[in-house]
Amino acid sequence: MKADIPDTRSQLLRRLGDFDLSKWGPFVALVILCVLATVASPYFLMAKNLLNVSRQVAQNGIVSVGMTFVILTGGIDLSVGSVIALASTMMALTQNYGFFAWIIALAAGALVGCINGILITSLRAQPFVITLGTMVAVRGAALTISGGHRIEGVPEMFRPMGIGKIYGVPVQALLFFAVAAIGIFIAHRTIFGRAVYAVGANEAAAKLSGIASGRIKILVYTMAGLLAAFTGTIVASHLNVGDSAFHGTNAELDAIAAVTMGGASLSGGRGLVIGTVAGAFLIGIITNILNLRNVPGDAQLIAKGAIIIFAVAIQQLRRR
């Protein structure tokens, strides 16, 4: 009995030594940031402000969950911003079909993602170039089907998805948490999720151990497209308009920033969905503090850039 005590103590010490900052770094940063934010502005910790932050984070967060899976395979998806525009346009354009408007918008996004995946695997091409191509083409397609105009209105039943609240919590935030929870489950508790990590860590080895890496990649890009389209329908429901020119511009960059700040490696195989959630909140809270402190937009951009470099640099130092 007595011998157990030093044993557990040494175990505890060893565990502290093993404390993997690249895994927990984003959360440590999040806690520090929350403390700083509370000091910087008395409004920060108010429930109303926190709920506001969670709503602002939601749209980028949902896209980022899809992007996490793509980046875990060692790929990247630049087309998500254009898919948001396509889905918001489709949703507004087909508003008379009610529920099916939503399904059509989601299907369009999933189709773009699927095409990305098929092109990347069948051509064995670099995801960056292929999705750059679809990014340009899909934005053009969205502009073409809308004639370049904003289209007012979405099916009435979907308005709550954008502006609704349940017990004061924005529905957008709840949807984000649901997507994140499903994402975490898929990444850690399904064969598909483990295969995603395997493909990203070492594709050749994954193939030799019987994983159909092509199919995994196609699924991952389809998922990213689907989640981007889901975000597009939320954006459209929020603003009650489908805008092919402005919805989702730079969304791909915000999502990539959230994923990298969440500790995922752009070369694939390493990263966590929960880290991405933390990364999305990091960016959201930074923006929120800067807004609360009335920092002008241009200085906000400078701060945002500096913080991204800082956050990623810390993770890099730890890995060495």
Binding site: V129, M135, G140, A141, L266, L301, V312
Partner: protein
């Protein structure tokens, strides 16, 4: 004995690549360019007029200059997403310092070099991924440009910038001449100079380059500095052309440049490609845009076609290498 054996092995491997393969690898996209050129001449009577061709050359000049810088970064296996923002900052500084004359241009170029040096430092010394570093720089530099302009476009540029942007050298517009000079110098740098060969070595296999005693950090810093300077030159040309320094100038320019590099056939993995390929890629995009304008195709449809072209170019290169 052993060396002779490897020699004969090397010969065998070399003979396996057919001359046809080498030929298409080198001239495949050039062939596409020529076919497009002939097709464009047949499809529009205005295409093959000197005025239109000079117009095309003026339209592609600024994008061409940043594409050359982007080629250098991509050859090392990196990428530079900050070039669009550097264009904006360079144009704003140019207009802000217009009373300094030619010195204003020098300041813009120095700032561009400084931004490249900073990116290069994070990438080579701290070993951070180029994509993330230059993404952060892209955001921060755009903010700096808006700050420096106090949110408003500033009118007026120094005379030399105006000349570079909209002046003419003999019958030729000045900006494509600048592009030609920069492309030629970069070609010499990449093919004739030792450090240029090191750029390819770093992109081909960074670890063995390091083990061969080459200063990899210095090579990487250099390519980002050059890319920053070239983006600043493009900013001077764009600012000079429009006679205004606007902080939103150059938005999305990084993607146009990457598209030109990728269509030309330079591998985004690094180590393969060159300036010639990029210029071919640039001309293909510029010509298709011009032709679609001449044929009155709507801007939206144009971007669908350009997007599909990027994918098609990748597909062609894949088929070629098989």
């Amino acid at each position: 004995m052993a060396t002779r054996k490897t020699d004969s092995l090397a010969c065998e491997i070399r003979t396996e690549t057919s001359p046809w393969q080498i030929y298409t690898e080198r001239y495949g996209m050039l062939l596409v360019l020529i076919i497009l050129f002939v097709a464009a001449s047949l499809m529009s009577e205005y295409f093959l007029t000197p005025r239109n061709l000079l117009n095309v050359s003026r339209q592609v000049a600024a994008n061409g200059i940043i594409s050359v810088g982007m080629t250098l970064c991509i050859l090392t296996g990196g990428i530079d997403l900050s070039v669009g923002s550097v264009i904006g900052l360079s144009a704003v500084l140019l207009a802000r310092n217009q009373e300094l004359g030619t010195l204003a241009i020098l300041i813009s170029l120095l700032v561009g070099a400084g931004i490249g040096l900073l990116s290069g430092f994070f990438i080579s010394k701290w070993r951070m991924p180029p994509f993330v570093v230059t993404l952060a720089m892209m955001i921060a530099v755009r903010g700096t440009a808006v700050l420096a302009a106090e949110s408003h476009p500033i009118e007026g540029v120094p005379p030399l910038a105006a000349f570079l942007g909209r002046g003419e050298i003999g019958p030729l517009p000045a900006s494509p001449v600048v592009l030609a000079v920069i492309a030629a110098l970069t070609w010499v740098f990449l093919t004739k100079m030792r450090i240029g060969r090191h750029v390819y070595a770093v992109g081909g296999n960074e670890e063995s380059t390091r083990l061969a005693g080459i200063n990899v950090s210095a090579v990487k810093m250099l390519v980002y500095v050059l890319s920053g300077v070239m983006a600043a030159i493009a900013g001077v040309i764009i600012g000079g052309h429009l006679n205004v320094g606007d902080p939103v100038q150059g938005t999305g320019a990084e993607l146009d440049a990457i598209a030109a590099v990728a269509i030309g056939g330079t591998s985004l993995m690094g180590g393969r490609g060159g300036v010639g390929s990029t210029i071919i890629g640039l001309l293909i995009v510029g010509m298709v845009n011009n032709l679609l304008n001449l044929l009155n195709v709507a801007g939206y449809t144009q971007s669908i076609i350009i997007g599909l072209m990027i994918i098609a170019a990748v597909a062609i290169q894949r088929i070629r290498s098989e």
